[in-house]
Point group: C2
Chain length 339, copies 2
């Protein structure tokens, strides 16, 4: 696989993208990487690492601009043609790379990928698919914010793409799809989800009906579909609450030496939970539905998170996820046409 | 205050509603209660308690039906005219009670209150207002699920009602209102929230712009407004995740005796957090905007939660919250008309 890495994307760029890809180069022998971004800065960062044995798998592609957090993702495609994320996508378009990993501006990645690569045949809008930790295993949330005002048909696309992704990449057999709503009965929901519900009943998936927040974290369905507005709120709320709960625990612990001793004795438990709930482990979130492999890593990605995003990109290419999505959508449309 | 208690509402009815109101009768000398529900069952439950000194403040109102969880709230008003929640609302309408507390079916309470009591002058739809724990103090989420497909104007009503409620009942000075969205910039959001944003800028509130999930649990704004679909998902997701995280911690702790010892030493910290995050302490959630005082307690309310819901009802009546809402809405409409 030939990876284009947005070396300037994310809160800790270029340090963490570079450190992460160096880890990945050592761990996975089967890919090469093009580091996209301000070449002087990226080379200076790379110089901090020992590249012996892997240096010949690294090349550079200069990009003079970076999309900043406050900017409009859509406008960035036009106004910052030489941004690291746009140039990384260009490399896919030009056939010089097989996949992009970026920890930068989500909207810019979504816009650049959608405009430059277009969507897969039969898919109208891409969706950002994020794994949310749960017990005993995480579920895939799609869409986590790529498509803010979708049509019900887009949700059907998400359900099919999500099912294929969790089967091929997460190894979930016969995945079920739940529709995010406010009650498990079919009659519960808003006008939008009620329309989605009817379409999902016809879709070539294991539709499990509505799911609600109480059911997300213990034995959840494998794929949860929703519009990008609800999905983004859900994702950020889950991240915010988990972070705050651990901070509250810490704040209470440090109030007494006895509690601090107790915390030290239980630290293995908390490490296990941190690992279980860490976004680092799941690596990147694929933008499903674009005609190319685009993996979004979290803005605050650690080197480990970047390494795992590279792993996801490798598996996505190797499992031919996009080809399988196109096949599934084709079959679905043929069936609908025959009805 | 004359309280009508839905004695048959909730997962543990009539036991917990009865036990909770007995606690409240002892703690607050300034109210009387009408226990609404199957009189034989309710009297049998009351007989388990010592009512000495408070018995003359308790009366009964028979209601032969209960709205079950799977039923449609709206249909229940027509089909189960003799349900405990409908009869409790009737008592307000007939001037025999000042407030209702129910831990039963939310939709049935919302429908019965809206149909029988109507909305306050100038308010088109009621909203369920729930306090969500945060650090250092909780925020009010409105609407948590009363109004699933609202118009932007309804959100303005929520912002005004929520501001008055947190000022009068929670003692928050100069409360700010945030609009639940997917980015703090004004340009972020879906079509619906963008319409809401414009109206909220004109509303007689301290509008703080958009808020997102990352900002909800540490120093949040005092009031967060959203449509009832998003609010209900948010509420249940927060409850579900908090519960699961504590279960995961417990599961890891019991894996070793050392960890169990450590947990015993830290248990004060966890008790403090449980108290901070417990819905019991905040008591009931008011249905703001109906022409009457209706407090929804959680379906799984403990006796303490019921007692605190009674406390909220008392304060709501004493602070004349509804009168203040009507005044604020009147002033707002006069200003708009004068523009």
């Amino acid at each position: 696989m030939r990876l284009a890495l947005d070396a300037m994307g994310g809160d800790y760029a270029p340090a963490n993208p570079v450190a992460g890809v160096v880890q990945a180069l050592r761990q996975y022998p089967d890919f090469t990487v093009i580091l996209v971004g301000d070449e002087a800065k990226v080379r200076a960062e790379v110089a901090k690492h020992d590249l012996s044995g892997v240096a010949d798998r690294v090349s550079y592609h200069h990009a003079s601009q970076v999309v900043e957090m406050g900017e409009s993702g859509l406008e960035s495609v036009r106004k910052k043609k030489d941004s690291s994320v746009s140039r990384a996508i260009d490399l896919i378009k030009e056939g010089k790379a097989d996949a992009v990993v970026s920890a930068g501006h989500t909207g810019a990645l979504v816009a650049a990928a959608t405009i430059k690569l277009r969507t897969l045949s039969g898919i109208h809008r891409p969706g950002l698919a994020v794994v949310i930790p749960a017990d005993p295993k995480g579920f895939l949330l799609i869409d986590a914010g790529a498509n803010i005002d979708p049509a019900p048909e887009h949700i059907v696309g998400y359900s099919i793409m999500g099912s294929i992704y969790v089967r091929e990449i997460l190894g979930y057999k016969e995945p079920r799809v739940g529709l995010m709503s406010i009650g498990t009965e079919a009659s519960k929901g808003n006008e939008f989800t009620k329309s989605c519900y009817e379409l999902l009943e016809q879709a070539p998936i294991n539709f499990a009906g509505n799911v609600e927040g109480h059911g997300l974290f213990k034995d959840p369905v494998e794929v949860v579909v929703c519009d990008g507005f609800v999905g983004n709120i859900l994702l950020k709320t889950v991240e915010g609450l988990a972070k705050s709960l651990f901070q509250w625990i810490k704040k209470e612990i440090v109030k007494s030496p006895v509690r601090m001793l107790g915390a030290w004795l239980t630290k293995g438990a908390f490490q296990a939970i941190r690992k279980q709930t860490s976004t680092d482990e799941y690596g990147g979130s694929p933008l499903l539905g674009v005609n190319g492999v685009c993996i979004k890593a979290h803005g605050n990605s650690s080197p480990t998170a970047i390494k795992n995003a590279v792993r996801v990109a490798r598996e996505f290419v190797a499992q031919r996820v996009n080809e399988r999505i196109v096949e599934a959508i084709d079959t679905h449309h043929e069936k609908l046409a025959a009805q």
